[in-house]
Symmetry: C2
Subunit: 300 residues, 2 copies
């Protein structure tokens, strides 16, 4: 399908166009709800029959099946599986993808996905939405998840240009802000902004877990307030997602951890030298820095 | 005033009893609103005339003044100032405190406060609520702030027993959960659960601030999501409060930072050795740990 043919579908005949979604969890289910509301016919592929029943009850797709054949007539397919499953697709899934369909994924580490999938499908484009909640699974999908959130694509010289534009049009139609970058830069940036927080937050929890004096530990539990809850949130998140991040982006995560360790050593040095004015100045800097990173976003 | 006399006041004649609050910011203002709703007459002492006007408009106290004489007839006085001001009270403030009043504070580091104030007033008891928001100042106080939150007191052998019970009765009457411990244990626990998060969160912000590659930095800004927002929240908080914490609890904070650094090194080692199963297991542990620290609280 050419870009102009697709545009025609988008603008005039959405009801006849089908989009396949593999996996109807938080991202896949939310996509299903959004795209149906815009008139697309959604074909959902799920793994388990219990998920199939619940996905039907929730109306996450027009058709739901555990048989990959359901993807046969789709013009676009979103692989909305967990990172490790995106990287290790079944032969049955690969064989069921129409060769002329545009295929994209939703995985948060792009270099290994692009490397794997460009060999598997001629119209693959690596992309993913930066949208998440602590929920997961077939009950998690909801309308509005992508609103005003970035949708990042990582095309390269081999990527089909029409495929890029199709995914851009779909993502912006559901409220996302379209961004393109290369896979390596993407993975370096997410290591810093998304993966690093998971591990420094987990290390905080581990530190509290390692406290040997039971009185202090019990007291700390009683005194834990919103500051601890916020700082420990992502370190107490999904273990298999954390594993998949680090397994597939370990080089960048180690670089980020190493830079972080140097920042932390500076903090310790400043306190050790009793440079209280400097402590205050550093916290003034970080206050301004934070505002520059979460400016104009709904995530304050 | 004896304990039984005070009880009588609490139970039957609240309208004739006066409580002084020094400082009408988040904690002082919230206390003023809560205690007035229970029938107490509140005398608020503020530093600036602009604060006085706003405190009156908001009804944070029955009487508000910039003159410490307003504390003259109070049976109980809460020193609801920032930590550094609690530790360095003016002579005028000290002289205006009635010798038979019960005096307590709201500072989050207890050892230096108890050491200072037990010399200044015969009926001082160190205490503070574990309740906070990111807001501060005369507009921040609100009803409900203390509901179900701990109120920690750190009496010692020199503390007037009747004074302890009076502060306990007041704090529980506004919905707080009363806890007593010794000042040193308190300061060790808050270093871990409250002060450490500030500095590890600040180090995260600093790490992002130090990124030299502008493309990566800009991309990280665009991609910053709720995980980064949560983990960086307390590191982008109040710089003077952070300084006061560390200036007055540096020994415990350095111990906490050192324990944290060891936890972080373990994380790095696990990733460096590509022990992905271990990464996942560690994250399963931290997920369980987090639940045990924020169990049954309104701070998930």
């Amino acid at each position: 399908m050419s870009k102009s043919q697709f545009k025609c579908l988008v603008d005039q005949q959405k009801k006849s166009g089908s989009i396949g979604i593999v996996g109807l969890g938080l991202i896949g289910g939310s996509l299903g709800l959004e795209l149906q509301s815009l008139g697309w016919k959604i074909h959902g592929l799920v793994h388990r029959s219990t998920t199939l029943e619940r996905a039907k009850e929730r109306g996450l797709a027009n058709l739901v099946s555990t048989n990959p054949e359901i993807l046969r007539d789709c013009e676009v397919v979103f692989i909305a599986l967990p990172l490790d499953k995106i990287l290790h697709p079944t032969d049955q899934l690969i064989n069921s993808l129409p060769p002329n369909a545009v295929v994209t994924d939703v995985g948060s580490v792009k270099s290994p996905i692009v490397q794997t999938w460009q060999k598997l499908h001629p119209r693959f484009i690596g992309s993913h939405p930066m949208a998440g909640t602590t929920e997961a699974g077939v009950n998690a999908g909801r309308l509005g998840l992508f609103h005003q959130r970035p949708w990042v694509a990582t095309p390269n010289s081999k990527t089909d240009i029409a495929a890029i534009e199709i995914i851009r049009d779909i993502s912006t139609s559901i409220g996302s802000k379209w961004i393109t970058t290369n896979a390596k830069q993407h993975d370096e940036a997410v290591a810093l902004i998304s993966h690093l927080p998971v591990f420094i937050s987990a290390a905080l929890l581990k530190t509290l877990g390692n406290v040997e004096n039971q009185t202090i530990k019990d007291l700390a539990k009683v005194l834990a307030s919103s500051g601890f809850a916020d700082t420990s949130r992502v370190g107490g998140g999904n273990p298999s997602l954390g594993r998949a991040m680090v397994e597939n982006n370990s080089t960048e995560i180690l670089k980020a951890l190493s830079a972080y360790r140097r920042s932390l050593e500076k903090v310790e040095e400043t306190i050790l030298s009793k440079s209280w004015d400097q402590v205050e100045k550093d916290l003034e800097d970080t206050k301004i820095l934070r505002a520059s990173f979460i400016k104009r976003k709904e995530i304050t």
